[in-house]
Symmetry: C2
Subunit: 279 residues, 2 copies
């Protein structure tokens, strides 16, 4: 059986968990890692997330498939550093916003790229956070696929299907707006909630009362500031629109409570309940 060489640039939660997922398929892979964090390189080797560490993009570009599992600005920077790429090489970036990436990749290598966003993650980061099952039965959004080469499209479809992901196809622009509503703005809320409570004088006594609701709502406030700074930067306009839409709803709630419009409040909560039928 042929061994597929997989490069992973960025040995963190996403890259590490991807290696675990691929190792759990019936295919044979050889994993080559690249990360500017030497400690993460060592941990990735010790955890068997990669078979070998390399230090240059030239070495990585000899792989059959290369995953870029680093923040968006890093993906854009790296895409400009590749010289020519072998025609059969497939580079799949897993950045959280897609439009800037999709339009920034140099024309000469655009067909080598597939821009994907797996809708999964945890609040943890680094190779020690890598877990089995992170991608299983989750959605992966494949963006602007018409810009990828036929071979690259095929590789990406086959690979994400092999780790049991649900493939969704979308324009990058549409993805970024959707992601702002379903992921980026909710992170802004979670960070705000955590800060609102932490900054209370009696914060410890308050947090001592936390039940499942607060735990769930504040979990993603533990996410990496570095990663989220990048996402908010890359998707600024959509995030601001989503925050404003949320603020309008919260304002409605606030006014109904203030004015004691209990029946309207009940109806409004009932509207929210309809999420139950969808999710």
């Amino acid at each position: 059986m042929e061994i597929t060489k997989v490069g992973i640039v960025g040995l963190g939660l996403m890259g590490g968990s991807l290696s675990i997922a691929l190792q759990e398929t019936s295919e044979d892979f050889y994993f080559i890692g690249l990360d500017h964090n030497e400690k993460h390189c060592q941990q990735a080797l010790e955890l068997n997330l990669v078979d070998k560490i390399v230090y240059t993009l030239a070495e990585i570009s000899l792989c059959d498939i290369v995953f870029l599992t680093i923040p968006v600005d890093g993906i854009i920077a790296i895409s400009k550093q590749f010289d020519t790429l072998p025609k059969e090489c497939t580079i799949i970036d897993l950045g959280s916003t897609k439009e800037k990436i999709s339009t920034s990749i140099p024309k000469e290598i655009r067909e080598n790229f597939v821009t994907a966003h797996p809708m999964t993650g945890t609040e943890k980061f680094g190779p020690l956070a890598a877990v089995s099952g992170l991608y299983k039965e989750k959605v992966v959004v494949l963006c602007d696929m018409q810009k990828s080469g036929t071979h690259q499209q095929e590789v990406a479809r086959k690979l994400f299907s092999s780790i049991d992901m649900k493939l969704v196809f979308m324009e990058a622009k549409e993805h970024d707006r959707h992601a702002a509503f379903i992921s980026h703005m909710p992170h802004a809320l979670s960070y705000s909630l955590a800060n609102a409570v932490i900054k209370q004088e009696a914060s410890e006594s308050i947090i001592n009362l936390a039940g499942g609701g607060f735990r769930d709502m504040s979990r993603i406030a533990k996410s990496s500031p570095t990663m989220w700074e990048d996402i908010f930067r890359q998707n600024k306009e959509n995030v601001l629109e989503a925050i404003e839409t949320f603020q309008t709803e919260l304002k409605k709630c606030q006014e109904m409570v203030k004015n004691e419009e209990w029946e309207n409040l009940n109806h409004w909560m009932n509207d929210a309940n309809s999420l139950h039928d969808i999710l």
Copy 2:
């Protein structure tokens, strides 16, 4: 071994799960249920949550311990309908706000009452939602305990300890403010988030991308509007204060994104990360 007669007024998630929890201890209990919803009475019997259904408060007040697991306004109304109570009878209400209850109970029977708030629940409701383990290792806040009789204090401590809860003692007024921050306001956020997304034109396509973050943050938006209307009503001022505190934080986030103050945003998210050390 002596059998303790336990009355449960309100055969829903909380009352039903409490019966399950008590049945899992080594003590012997006989459960008597009361609920104005005839279907819930039948379901509670079928699910063995209660041994018998009664229809009057007079019958319930013959129990050793009576749990009031109904909304706050119902608890207040019922507390005024009890005539004199046997000196040894312990009535424990599990209402989500405590100050109005604590101050509304008629003086003659105040010592019979223990006002408690278990910091647990799910977004589901009704006797079919009752589950094992709902109370296990969760916090129960016991409020204004100095107003309860010595016997009643002892009964409540022993009983909540027997189902492995962590006892926290607090003034009712303090509890209500804390609960607004840790539970009530987060529910307002979750309802607002669900409505913000549902009302988008492409809502189904957006929700199709939901990962763990959105699932967690929108889960409690599926909670009962009837129950939450009551909580927002009972705890209006504290809820409004907590919402405003949250809005201030979200506004900060919004401004930092708008003005591209990435370093400040990073620090602010880092502040939120400190929740990790506490929760």
